[in-house]
Amino acid sequence: MSTLDKEKSLAALRQMMVIRDFEETADKLCLRGKVPGGMHNSSGQEAAAVGVMSALAPDDVIATTHRSHHHTLAKGFTPKSVMAELFAKSTGVSGGRGGSMHLAGVERGHFGGNGIVGAGVGIAMGAALGIQVLKDKKVSVGFVGDGGMNTGRTWEAINMAVIYKLPFIIICDNNQYAVETFVGRVTGGGDLAKRASGFGLPSFNINGQDVEEVYKYTAEARERALAGEGPTFINAVTYRYYGHNVGEKGQYRTQEEIAEWRTSKDPIDYFTGVVLERKFATQQEIDDMRASVRTEIDEAVAFAESSPEPAISTITQGVDSGKLGIQL
């Protein structure tokens, strides 16, 4: 399971294109005020998301962060339903209540983005415990950013997963910055896999720009998890091309740094090269793929635009099961 076959490769490439196009489109719409509350663009980080999902079964569980469009799309949610949620429309994955940071589809194994740094890891760990208690054959994956590796709850969750040997994989979607803070400035020890391994689980620093490398480490982690061998930590080093939040620039990194990642380490460019080299597709097919993606995203925008707002009358609905609790 170290490389992706033709079918999976093409699917992965297309998925990365979907994410990129989605994000760049949404970013512009956000600047035009279409995404209430702003959004966190994941452009540049496609391989880590798609590599992980390529190794998962459809009903494996994930829980993630405030930056989660890429995870959600890679998990198989349609651009329409995700874009609609960004627009806070009733047809969105969370009915327009969640917004960009709270994409979810619990019945389909997406336990949600999160407004709180690190919280998704705990929820995913809990799902892994549920899998274990109910004796299912699935794994649960928790995403966290490099910034989230300094919040205590992340380590509590990792420790708990280790001692219970939970079917759990923790992926650090390490884009090297938390808002404007470079990971090296706030991360004692510097080496996240070394940190994690001190908690007693297999831990790896990997190239998050190579979708196959991410796939391979995730697939192996999944095997271990299903075999009852417990959790794995994967630190996938990647890069975000845009600001933390849409519209933000800041002086915390150089234009050269961004350009270097964009031009020499872009995950889509890189994997397009792999696909061409392996002759899984011709250049023409790649171009067609990109065009079909374009259409799909255009349709997603149209869908989101034309979708109805949630009904105002629902603001107090679905909070709990009602004043007297369940009927006994």
């Binding site: 415990l129 109910l134 709990d320």
Partner: protein
């Protein structure tokens, strides 16, 4: 299935044993229920509240946890979303302060945001007794204020059992507070099919002249005050709310309308206590029925002291409650 520690219906078990009894019945019925907390398997929890359950249901269903409150609640939340119905035992409610994001920001909001119920029970021992400032936080108002949470505060073995069974059939997160000073009290409990619904207060003692509305251990103190006042010719009704959310506003409104003389008591610091919500809303709804303002009795605005006399003096007593009743009787 039954062991030495199993409590029979109609026996007079302790408050802690009543909890066990309800949990056992529900665990038998629902394989998705498991319990997670510190020192549960052998010790059975700090107050013996789950004593023997691990031996009966297996160590897979009663899990000993590291001291990681945030992860404990997250484990409960994630597994509840997945399909289990966990009981997260936080030991003392004070330790919930290390898991507040998981409780307030996450568990309570998931159903609203994701249209997915989170059937999770968070049990903890609460209330004021010895132990000092870090072990005597009254956090009821935090939880009651949070949309998405229910909050059960039983004061008798019967209600502990009836409410934990309801909690374990409830789809949403329930904070289940068991008062320290009640752990050892004994009382009758009922069988497998007895449930105490959420949002239904109980009349602990009927009365004719005034009403005291309370919950938890304060019900015991209020009842003592009521007994003492009886001797002085004042007949006081005592109402035990049993859950603070949902709150039995029907019972509260009826009592306010009937008596017009109302005292609300708990042992949380008075300023901002849940008694303020009860008094404010009941006043707004029943102003015309009131013979005078609702009087609240609560704790001093201070941390609790390790010194027993100081600690006792900070919270409502038979005397302070009686004085409040006499005040409303003067209207």
């Amino acid at each position: 299935m039954s062991t030495d520690t199993t409590v029979k219906a109609n026996a007079t078990p302790t408050y802690s044993e009543a909890f066990q009894s309800g949990v056992r019945e529900e665990m038998t019925r629902n394989k998705g229920i498991f319990i997670l907390g510190t020192d549960l398997q052998e010790r059975g929890g700090h107050f013996a509240q789950v004593k023997g359950i691990a031996q009966e249901f297996g160590f897979d269903r009663v899990k000993d946890s590291p001291i990681s409150e945030a992860a404990m609640v997250a484990a409960g939340m994630g597994s509840a979303m997945y399909g289990c119905h966990p009981i997260i035992d936080l030991n003392f409610i004070d330790f919930s302060l290390g898991a507040m994001d998981e409780i307030i920001n996450q568990a309570a909001k998931i159903r609203f945001m994701f249209n997915k119920p989170v059937p999770l029970v968070i049990r903890a021992t609460s209330g004021i007794a010895l132990g000092g400032a870090h072990h005597c936080n009254s956090l009821e108002s935090f939880f009651a204020h949070t949309a998405g949470l229910s909050l059960a505060v039983p004061s008798t073995p019967m209600d502990v059992k009836g409410l934990i069974k309801t909690a374990l059939r409830n789809e949403d997160p329930v904070i289940f507070l068991m008062h320290k000073k009640l752990s050892g009290i004994r009382g009758e409990i009922k069988g497998d099919d007895y449930f105490v619904p959420f949002g239904k207060a109980a009349t602990i003692k009927p009365g004719k002249d005034a009403v005291i509305i309370s919950y938890g251990y304060s019900v015991v103190t209020a009842n003592k005050a009521a007994q003492a006042l009886e001797a002085e010719g004042i007949s006081v009704e005592v109402i035990d709310l049993r859950t603070l959310y949902p709150l039995d506003t029907d019972a509260i409104n009826a009592a306010v309308q009937k008596f017009g003389r109302v005292v609300v008591v708990d042992e949380a610091p008075l300023f901002g206590s849940i008694t303020a919500e009860i008094a404010a809303t009941a006043t707004e709804a029943n102003f015309g029925s009131l013979k005078g303002p609702i009087v609240r009795v609560g704790a001093a605005r201070a941390p609790l002291s390790a010194n027993p006399a100081m600690s006792e003096a900070a919270i409502p007593s038979v005397d302070s409650i009686s004085a409040a009743v006499k005040k409303v009787m003067k209207y």
